[in-house]
């Protein structure tokens, strides 16, 4: 499903609108000339300009129907040719006639490149295209009246809005692609999950339950928990965020129990990664200094902050032991846990004492965008 998606341009309908505008505005220009043909001193010059406009309309119609013709380069070329054709209209009227309000044969057709630039470059492109077209028309006229201001406002508004729509559509296309990839990954994990659940996992569980050899039992238990963790898909969260609950549950082992809400605790992906790394560090610290101790990781979200408590039932850290470690140059605990939390704008508090185990309380503030 992701393959056709990659080749589909969600902007294609908007490009068709721009092409339609070009065609319709050319027909309107021809009709406009026919209606006001008495206001032109000659027939040849305006018909030549209209014919050139018709040819160029055909060129952009073909160009915009393929991906290569939707690039910025093509729209700039379009803008250049359009301005040249606008300049060519001086041959259609006697000198000074435009200043008296004589009709310009290119009419509304010249707005086309501004719309194309809006699609190719977003709001900025639309605005730039619109201003260039308007400047060229104003230069030709030699004055700015109410009608010109009105036309400029409309042109700028339409171009900027179209550019905005193009930007939003591109973002939506990207999100759609990411979602499709995530869906494919999730389906794959589910497929693997069923196979592992019915096979390896059951054997590991059986080995552990039979308890033939203590070392084998322990290893089987560890691998069983790790495998189950890997199969955790977790609830769906927005693009760019990650569920802290799912991330923390991956840390569970026979000696580490993880508690938290069933609902996702959505945080920016980077924040989740940093916080999980800090918890892992605390657990590693316990495994190193209190082998055999059990640990608990508790995720406690609130409206304005997220608290993660990592506790163990080991012998605890004697007074002064932590600062002594820092003095000796072992910066592990302080830099990895306190530093990470400080970087996230949070705090890390350690409660410990001989015989009391250790309890890290990691707190980070939470934005309002949850």
């Amino acid at each position: 499903m992701s393959v056709p998606l990659r080749h589909r341009d969600l902007l294609a309908p908007l490009w068709r609108v721009v092409v339609a505008f070009r065609l319709v505005s050319w027909v309107l220009a021809v009709a406009g000339w026919f209606r006001e043909r008495d206001d032109y001193p000659g027939m040849v010059a305006p018909l030549a300009v209209l014919a050139a406009m018709g040819i160029w309309t055909g060129v952009v119609t073909v160009a915009h129907s393929r991906a290569a013709g939707r690039r910025t380069r093509m729209t700039l070329l379009d803008l250049g040719v359009t301005v040249l054709l606008l300049a060519a209209t001086v041959t259609t009227q006697p000198e000074g006639a435009f200043g008296q309000g004589a009709p310009i044969v290119t009419s509304i057709w010249v707005a086309g490149p501004a719309l194309a630039m809006a699609l190719a470059r977003g709001r900025g492109g639309g605005l730039a295209g619109a201003l260039v077209v308007w400047a060229a028309v104003t230069f030709l006229r030699g004055y700015v009246g109410d009608r010109e201001v009105f036309n400029l406002t409309l042109l700028v508004l339409v171009s900027v809005l179209l550019g905005y729509a193009a930007t939003i559509t591109r973002a939506a296309e990207l999100a759609l692609r990411e979602a499709a990839a995530a869906q494919a990954a999730s389906a794959e994990r589910e497929r693997l999950g069923r196979a592992v659940h019915d096979g390896v996992l059951q054997v590991l569980a059986a080995v552990r339950r039979r308890g033939v050899d203590p070392e084998l039992t322990r290893l089987a238990a560890e691998q069983e928990v790790a495998l189950r963790g890997l199969l955790t898909t977790g609830p769906e969260v927005a693009v760019g965020t990650a569920d802290l609950g799912t991330a923390l549950r991956l840390l569970a082992t026979p000696d580490v129990e993880v508690a938290g809400p069933a609902e996702p605790v959505e945080l920016p992906a980077q924040t989740t990664a940093e916080l999980t790394a800090a918890v892992r560090e605390a657990l590693a610290n316990t495994a190193e200094h209190a082998p055999g101790a059990r640990s608990w990781v508790s995720l406690e979200p609130a409206d304005d902050e997220v608290v993660v408590v990592v506790r163990d039932d080991g012998p605890g850290i004697p007074d002064g032991r932590l600062s002594a470690a820092v003095d000796e140059g072992h910066h592990g605990v302080r830099s990895s846990i306190c530093g990470r939390l400080a970087d996230l704008g949070g705090t890390a508090d350690l409660h410990t004492g001989p015989g009391q185990g250790t309890e890290w309380e990691l707190t980070i503030p939470r934005g309002t965008d949850r």
């Binding site: 569980a205 189950r228 026979p254 993880v258 809400p261």
Partner: protein, 215 residues
């Protein structure tokens, strides 16, 4: 002797759990591999405790839990689940399961949990406390005015359970009796299950699934 029924979709696991329980003096009166046969066999043998897996192939252990609890008021359900199925665990507990144990728990922990479940106590792990705290938080921020609330004390106690403290340690820390702590913990679960039953009944009546006169 406490009678137990083991429900899991995988025979190897089922046999291992059965062997562990028999070795510790329980009588395993039935086993089942899917939700339908679990409910039928439970009604036939009326075990004291059902040890229930939540992933039963194509069928759901949550549904089986709800049906067993509804059909057999004296039978208690202990959920034995992989840590990955948190949302399912919460649903099963709301549907009436008396507690939950992770599948990685040792045979002794399982035996202890079955004994306590048979005695009518909810088996509270840190994980379950975390799930309940999350669920009460969700209910509180929801639109339902009738949703149950935790008292400050109950929140405090549940938080300490979720951090892995034993009832004894909590009692010491909060200067309470051991029994009071246990009561607080059990209450938090009962309130939620009661609310869930009321909700189900209301839903059934609203959707014409049951005759209001007989409800």
């Amino acid at each position: 002797m406490t009678t137990v029924m083991v429900v899991d979709d995988h025979p190897m696991w089922r046999e291992a759990v059965e062997r562990d329980l028999v070795a510790r003096g329980f009588e395993v009166v039935a086993t089942a591999g899917d939700a339908g046969s679990a409910v039928r066999r439970a009604q036939a043998v009326r075990p004291d405790v059902v040890v229930m897996d939540l992933q039963l192939g194509e069928t759901s252990g949550v549904d089986a839990t709800r049906d067993v609890v509804a059909a057999l008021p004296t039978t208690r359900v202990l959920v034995l689940s992989a840590s990955a199925e948190q949302a399912d665990v919460l649903e099963a507990v709301k549907a009436g399961a008396s507690g939950y144990l992770v599948k990685s728990a040792s045979a002794d922990e399982l035996a202890d949990a079955v004994t306590r479940t048979a005695a009518g106590d909810a088996v509270f792990s840190a994980g379950l406390a975390g799930l309940l705290l999350g669920e009460y938080r969700r209910l509180q921020s929801g639109p339902d005015d009738g949703a149950p609330r935790l008292t400050e004390r109950e929140t405090e106690v549940l938080k300490l359970v979720s951090r892995g403290l034993s009832a004894k340690a909590i009692a010491e820390r909060l200067v309470l009796s051991h029994r009071t702590v246990e009561n607080h913990v059990q209450n938090t679960l009962r309130k939620l299950q009661l609310h869930n039953r009321v909700e189900l009944t209301r839903y059934a009546i609203e959707h014409g699934l049951t005759d209001p006169d007989s409800a």
